[in-house]
Symmetry: C2
Subunit: 195 residues, 2 copies
């Protein structure tokens, strides 16, 4: 008995990650009942983003311009290239304020179990980008998950073959955490990598 | 360093209920990176729903027509009127297949703490609708929450003053549940209302 137009909206909301059938219905009803302005704004923002946002041709992050502002920033050190899985990870590194090199954003991590290989995440363009004769060190900042570690492992081999220095973000105990509550794998790594 | 167009999309996604800043960013990045088709579909569904979906003038549920199919259904018993807080609640009752009367959908429940009173939820139109001379019994199916119970209490008084029979959905132990895991308030009500 749900109107097909409302049902189509519910189905479309399920296209958002993490939104199941119950939340999609709740979202649709909320928008139609209480906040049609928000629905119109969301509709317009989606279209505008799809129309205007592409990928920087140097680092592949989201960008309205062919080359993004970060890649064009003359204050950044072009000898350092940091590889991340997503623009969100790039954002986290930027917010730390501790990296002054350039970035390369993969399309995620390889995932052998899901059939996602090096070609799917853009390793080819990374190798081209890193072999520009200016990059000296590639900092691997893929996630410390199984898939992220496999990705880092593959990239390390391929980048070293091209004569590049390859480093990885340090593993260890998070700042502010109490040892008692840190998982054992992290403690083991922090011991191994002690300095 | 997030592009303003992407940021506008993130902000618009936060207009969805239950979506915080982190999920909004994850949703925006997912759509732009992996599923632009879903973004376009969602944009179109939102506009179409806002354009075409209004409220049935008899029962106030979502409807593309002035009067919805349920209100026009001659097989339904017009002497029975069931009052719910939302179209979603109406959907739950319909799926139970046990109600053959008509509905009236409030705009939520009164909430004294949030300053939401009887006028905000459409009690006036309900009283008019219930006083059409055909309705004999009003079944209150507001939620069994504090706000829903207050709403049911207010409606009971006002509807009885108009000479209508007012009933409330039965409280009790949910079908399929083990007593051990049922909350004590529910057990107390199930004992009081034993039959
Ligand atoms: Zn760039
Ligand atoms: Zn109706």
């Amino acid at each position: 008995m749900i109107d097909p137009v409302v049902q189509a909206l519910i189905d479309a909301l399920r296209g958002l990650p993490g939104v199941g059938p119950k939340s999609a219905q709740r979202m649709a009803y909320h928008l139609l009942q209480h906040d049609r302005g928000a629905a119109v704004r969301l509709s317009q923002s989606l279209l505008q983003a799809v129309d205007e946002i592409g990928h920087c041709e140097r680092c592949h992050t989201f960008s309205r311009d062919r080359v993004c502002a970060t890649c064009l920033d003359p204050a950044r050190d072009p000898r350092l290239l940091c590889v991340v899985e997503t623009p969100a990870d790039q954002g986290a590194l930027e917010r730390s304020g501790s990296f002054r090199g350039l970035y390369f954003v993969l399309a995620g991590a390889v995932s052998p179990l899901d059939g996602i290989g090096v070609r799917d995440i853009g390793v080819g363009p990374l190798l081209t980008r890193a072999s520009d004769g200016v990059v000296e060190e590639v900092v691997l900042a893929t996630n410390f998950t199984a898939d992220g570690e496999v990705t880092a492992h593959i990239l390390t081999e391929q980048l070293r073959q091209r004569g590049l220095k390859v480093t990885r973000l340090a593993r260890g105990v998070p700042v502010g955490s109490e040892l008692e509550y840190v998982d054992l794998g992290t403690i083991a790594h922090a011991l191994m990598d002690r300095r």
